[in-house]
Point group: C2
Chain length 112, copies 2
């Protein structure tokens, strides 16, 4: 189980990244992320939907109600140009932290 903070920090970059695979809808995003992470990342709907709404308000993504292969109505989300820019920014931020961490992890631990 991932920590709350890590789930929060990774939500937007993950949604944007998954949408680079092509449009998708909320319920399926949860499953896709679970699948990609090997079951380690478990999103709840109550966490995801507000994030999607916020991202749409920000202009990162846009949505459209459509029927999928089943007869069900689904709200499909698609990347917008703003979203691609945001993803670039998110990537950089993530990598900044990642590089800082790995720099430390590679060091020989010195005893105190």
């Amino acid at each position: 189980m991932l920590s709350k903070d890590l789930v929060a920090a990774s939500a937007v970059p993950l949604v944007l990244s998954v949408l680079t695979e092509g449009e998708n809808y909320g319920y399926a995003l949860i499953q896709r992320v679970r699948e990609l992470s090997g079951g380690k990342i478990e999103w709840t709907e109550g966490m995801l939907y507000p994030v999607l709404h916020w991202m749409e308000k920000e202009g990162f993504i846009e949505s459209e109600w459509r029927e999928g292969e089943t007869g069900r109505k689904r709200k499909y989300y698609r990347m917008r140009q703003e979203g691609r820019k945001a993803l670039q920014e998110e990537k950089q931020q993530w990598m900044s932290v990642h590089e800082t961490l790995t720099k430390l992890w590679k060091q020989q631990p010195r005893s105190t």
Copy 2:
């Protein structure tokens, strides 16, 4: 400037990782992390001290008041065994997310 969420998610692993370099005190941790990140990670004291207190309460680290090279009293923090365990766990969580993200970033983006 890093997002609030990312700062929160990385605080504990970063503190633990920096302390593997040897004991250190709060004020210097802020500077060390700034330095390691090339100025990208800017912690505030109001954010760090409560985290240090929490980590001590959890038994990850222990503290001791001492005088440094200057005449100043400083509160030095040192890793405990619990902290090393916590760091291992944090590493794994971080890497889970990181691998999920990089998996997506490596993919050929398909157009919608």
